[in-house]
Amino acid sequence: MLSRTAENLYWLARYVERAEYLARTIDATLRVTALPAAYIGKTNEWDSALLTAGVAASFYQAYEEANEHNVVEYLSFSQNNPSSIRNCIEAARLNSRSVRTALTSEMWDTINSAWIELQAVWSKGTSTREDLAKFLRFVQETSLRFDGSAYRTMLRNDAYWFSRMGVHLERADNTARILDVKYHVLLPEEEHVGGPLDFYQWSSILRSVSALTAYHWVYRETLKPWLIADLLILNDTLPRSLASCYGNLVRNLDQIGVAYGRQGPAQRHARGIRNRLEHSNMNDIFQHGVHEFIQEFIADNSRLGEIITKQYLI
């Protein structure tokens, strides 16, 4: 297939995944900030939402204060923020248009009708909490529909694998970022561990990666920072965990390798990251520092993105 087509499919999937993640982050933050101050402590949750989205620096160039109004505006609707939900959806539609021939009609229809629907939101904005909630739900549903259409309608060939790689690479990045921003509330040696304050922080983390229910199923335990980190980093049964993302990335890259009859640096690099995750346990990770571990992972993950681009997309 054309390199440009593969590139568009890969980025299309990334944009949709990113839009969903942003919607989840805003959703979870709204929930936590609605609690009485005694339950969440003094941290500015809106500031940490910006950090998880990786756009804090550019935000503060345009705004003074990270409050609900400004942050929701910047993450959802701003045209100046290249990774706002709005720009993700616009970019996804543009990518879809350039690779229409490689998309199934169901996938095109999902993106195109979401884009049409959201034109009204862009022009009118969301004046009430209810409107905002509806909008955030719509974005998440669009991503689910897109993912579902891809899963149910695409041929299992390179087009599908490149698209899946976009999903998993973006997803791994998102999960790692939220962990990185919140790692301090997961640290066992912190003084206030176990208080009600952390409980809401912890559940907020899980909510933003839609893993709250999963946690209870997997561990049948009350929320514990150790286990939350284990779930999000090492548990490969959770689709948004780093381990699961890398299991999938390695699989997709192998499938491409087999189809094309040769492997390359992308396959080797992805396997290296997966092996490291497979041979880690939470004990070591905490010993060496969660922050360092995740920082390293984020760098490795974006390095894989560069290698894939060089090997296949240009």
Binding site: M1, R4, S98
Partner: protein, 472 residues
């Protein structure tokens, strides 16, 4: 201006035979039902994303072409005559191009004046002596046809460069079949769906000799911002070929390759929807980012077929148009089956004088214009516009031709106040491969939606209709 020919009604109250069943159906169908279907059609178009862009229109970069749900119907007999005329015309166009870029018999015979060719910006000296496979230059032609009476088909314009609109012909039919299955059950409408197959076969048949047994065809688009981008992606999809942009192609050793995830892959035939000027920055406009550097040298080396060929603009130029009847006679020794609109060549002093005296009754067109831009429609223009045009005309008479205002035929069309006659034209698509010339029965009917308007161009508020050829 004469009374327009009504394709449905015969003066005096009778119906033309092709429209009888439609009239019966219309009588049985309540107006609300039609309106409901019309809205449904619009929704479908928007969801499928069948849009086009209007240049210079910042408000909405993507617009729908209005679709009228009442089909335009022609009898099989009428079509047979039109088809014969179209094939004749396109054969002549191809022979003319072959001649212009080789022996130039027609210039020596003084049928067409030299300067109209050599001083014409769309003449491509790069094509002199260049062999093109099977001498086919115009693989895809869109010939714009109008009717003014029951007998004649008149060619308004030949489109021999990168004619567009065929996706509408195909999608209009799909949508009509979805919305009006009962109406189809009552007619025998000749199908159009084999167009993509015929196009692919035609393109493959003209592959260069150096191509492998299974030639690779690709469609070259200027990209998503082009007004016809939807059509490009639609056709690539239907043909099962790659939709490429200039940056996807690379020329090495005079061969053309596309960049794929598995490395470079040779391309043999390019169905290009990029204008000559932008094809190759090394040969034509150096600022073009839409093209492929080196493409013209691969073309000269005979390793790639471009469809349509480079330089076909010289055949559909409005200045050449008026010579078409003579061109047909010259190459084929036959009387042209399709008529031309009588045309005054403003470059000739006698014609210019006539045009200047009769501006308020004529349509004056720029020789190199297209899409309905830059033309004067005398009867509809204000005095001031006419005077401004008169100055332009005097300054540069060779840039213009003039024609009488034709009373284009009308078809019943949905309007705010119910069904009413509106003016239409027709663009059938003529495909020429190595062995044969084919035309799917029908084409794109464009309709001027405003009452009395004669401008059918989509960029100027025209709409489209499904075109039915009845199989009797």
């Amino acid at each position: 201006m004469a009374v327009a020919f009504d394709e449905m009604n015969i003066p005096g109250g009778d119906l033309r035979p092709a429209y009888q069943e439609l009239a019966r159906w219309l009588k049985e169908t309540p107006p609300e039902a039609l309106e409901y279907r019309r809205q449904e059609a619009e929704l479908l178009f928007r969801r499928i994303g069948i849009t086009f862009a209007v240049y210079g229109d910042s408000e909405s970069t993507e617009r729908l072409i209005p679709f009228d749900v009442i089909p335009r119907i022609m009898s099989g007999k009428e079509w047979a005559r039109l088809e014969k005329g179209l094939k004749q015309r396109v054969r002549a166009l191809n022979m003319f191009l072959r001649d212009i870029y080789h022996g130039r018999d027609i210039l020596r015979a003084d049928i067409v004046p030299d300067d109209l060719i050599f001083q014409n910006p769309v003449f491509r000296p790069e094509m002199n002596g260049q062999q093109v496979p099977h001498d086919v230059y115009v693989h895809i032609a869109g010939i714009d046809i109008v009717r003014v009476d029951a007998e004649d088909f008149i060619v308004l314009e030949d489109n021999a460069r990168t004619p567009s609109g065929v996706s509408y012909m195909l999608e209009n039919r799909e949508i009509m079949m979805r919305l009006f299955p009962d109406l189809f059950a009552r007619h025998r409408v000749a199908p159009v769906e084999r167009y993509p197959d015929e196009l692919l076969a035609a393109l493959r048949s003209v592959a260069p000799q150096s191509a492998s047994g299974e030639p690779t065809v690709a469609l070259l688009t200027p990209g998503v911002y082009n007004s016809a981008y939807y059509e490009h992606s639609f056709l690539a999809d239907k043909l099962g070929i790659e939709l490429v942009e200039g940056r996807d192609l690379v020329v090495k050793n005079n061969e053309v390759f596309m960049r794929t995830t598995e490395g470079l892959k040779r391309v043999d035939v390019i169905y290009r929807r990029v204008d000559d000027d932008f094809l190759d920055p090394l040969t034509f406009r150096p600022d073009s980012v839409l093209g492929v550097p080196g493409l013209m040298s691969a073309y000269a080396a005979g390793n790639i077929t471009l469809a349509n060929a480079v330089g076909t603009g010289i055949a559909d130029d409005k200045a050449i148009y008026s010579y078409m009847p003579d061109i047909v006679k010259f190459y084929l020794g036959e009387e042209p089956i399709l008529k031309n609109v009588p045309t005054w060549r403003c470059r000739e002093p006698k014609d210019l004088a006539y045009v200047l005296d009769n501006l308020s009754e004529l349509v004056v067109k720029e020789v190199h214009g297209s899409g309905g831009y830059g033309m004067l429609i005398g009867p509809a223009a204000t005095k001031a516009t006419i005077e401004a045009f008169r100055d332009k005309l005097k300054r540069e008479p060779e840039g213009f031709i003039a024609q009488p205002t034709l009373a284009l035929s009308t078809c019943p069309t949905c309007t705010a106040s119910g069904l009413a006659p509106r003016h239409v034209d027709l663009r059938p698509f003529v495909l020429t491969g190595s062995k044969s010339t084919t035309i799917v029965p029908g084409g794109l009917t464009r309709v001027a939606l405003k009452e009395g308007s004669l401008v059918v161009n989509s960029s100027q508020g025209g709409g489209t209709k499904d075109t039915w050829i009845l199989d009797e």
